[in-house]
Symmetry: C2
Subunit: 180 residues, 2 copies
């Protein structure tokens, strides 16, 4: 069985549903682990995997994601969760005042350790920063990330159909069925 | 001899000058090390020290610092260098538009490993976020950090007399003379 290491129960439940479509069973390991201040989600994930490989005996994967705003040089990127907790959606909207290029993307990285190698799977969903906060569902930057005219927070369950995390997880599970 | 692990030559030169006043000699170790995404400068430093303790054989110290803006819940804090590289001084000024409480502080942490324990020394310099970018000296957020009416970037060498880093280093070297 493959373990998903995350302290976020919601993420585990979402991943479990997607895994079932591939007839894959996953187990939840609720464990905190260090993340470094890296240059990319991939670099952060590699470091965390190396740390966790000493703590966990079987095959496992982790997932991390971030919002990357092109006109802000990728900010908040890998620090999305910290930036959300401090300046929040209001802060991002303020930074985007008067900015023409509002393009942005959510990126997710799934990193899987098969006890000999690390394999990464990327999911990207492109959109734009909305002009205002809209919608009640989801979490984090969902209310300001617009995809096809609606924010992620306005899409309810529909978000899960097109989300960066789903794309990365599907790539991973699809690869798993062929390789394990 | 005690090693200062930093990739920043300027920091080493500054520390060496201060150390000399305490008749302490320090050596430069130009080595990159991982920093975690922690809750505080202290937590980040502890982790880095643990990592470095396996790489370096003698006593050593590291230094890290950040700008903490009270009305932004401490943002950019431990991520100051990333935030500077992305949204920069302009981004901070934008976030502070219309904000009444412009108080902020620079904080430095020196963490020293004596091969058995980690000792930390804190330096804090309080000021406020200026209304505009002013001054040419210094680096990073210096042009928007106002101390007694002038920004750090307007103070030239005078900044080094009152800086958070100097305060932390002086506390450390003073402690060293009594304990080693």
């Amino acid at each position: 069985m493959i373990s998903f290491v995350t302290t976020n129960k919601g993420k585990f439940v979402e991943a479990k549903k997607i895994a079932e479509k591939f007839s894959i069973e996953i187990r939840w390991v609720n464990l905190e682990y260090p993340e470094i201040q890296g240059e990319s989600l991939e670099e952060v994930a590699y470091f965390s995997i190396k740390f966790l490989s000493k703590e966990i005996d079987d095959m496992f994967f982790i997932e991390d994601s971030g919002l990357f705003i092109n006109s802000l040089k990728g900010f908040p990127g890998i620090y999305s969760s910290y930036v959300f907790k401090t300046i929040g959606n209001e802060g991002i909207l303020k930074l985007m005042e008067g900015v023409k290029d509002r393009s942005a993307y959510f990126k997710a990285v799934v990193a899987f350790y098969d006890r000999s190698e690390i394999h990464t799977f990327i999911g990207i969903t492109e959109g734009r920063i909305a002009n205002e906060i809209r919608g009640d569902s989801g979490f984090g930057f969902d209310p300001i990330f617009e995809y096809n005219g609606r924010t992620f927070a306005e899409m309810g369950e529909g978000k899960n159909e097109v989300s960066h995390r789903r794309k990365a997880l599907e790539k991973f599970f699809s690869w798993l069925t062929k390789n394990f």
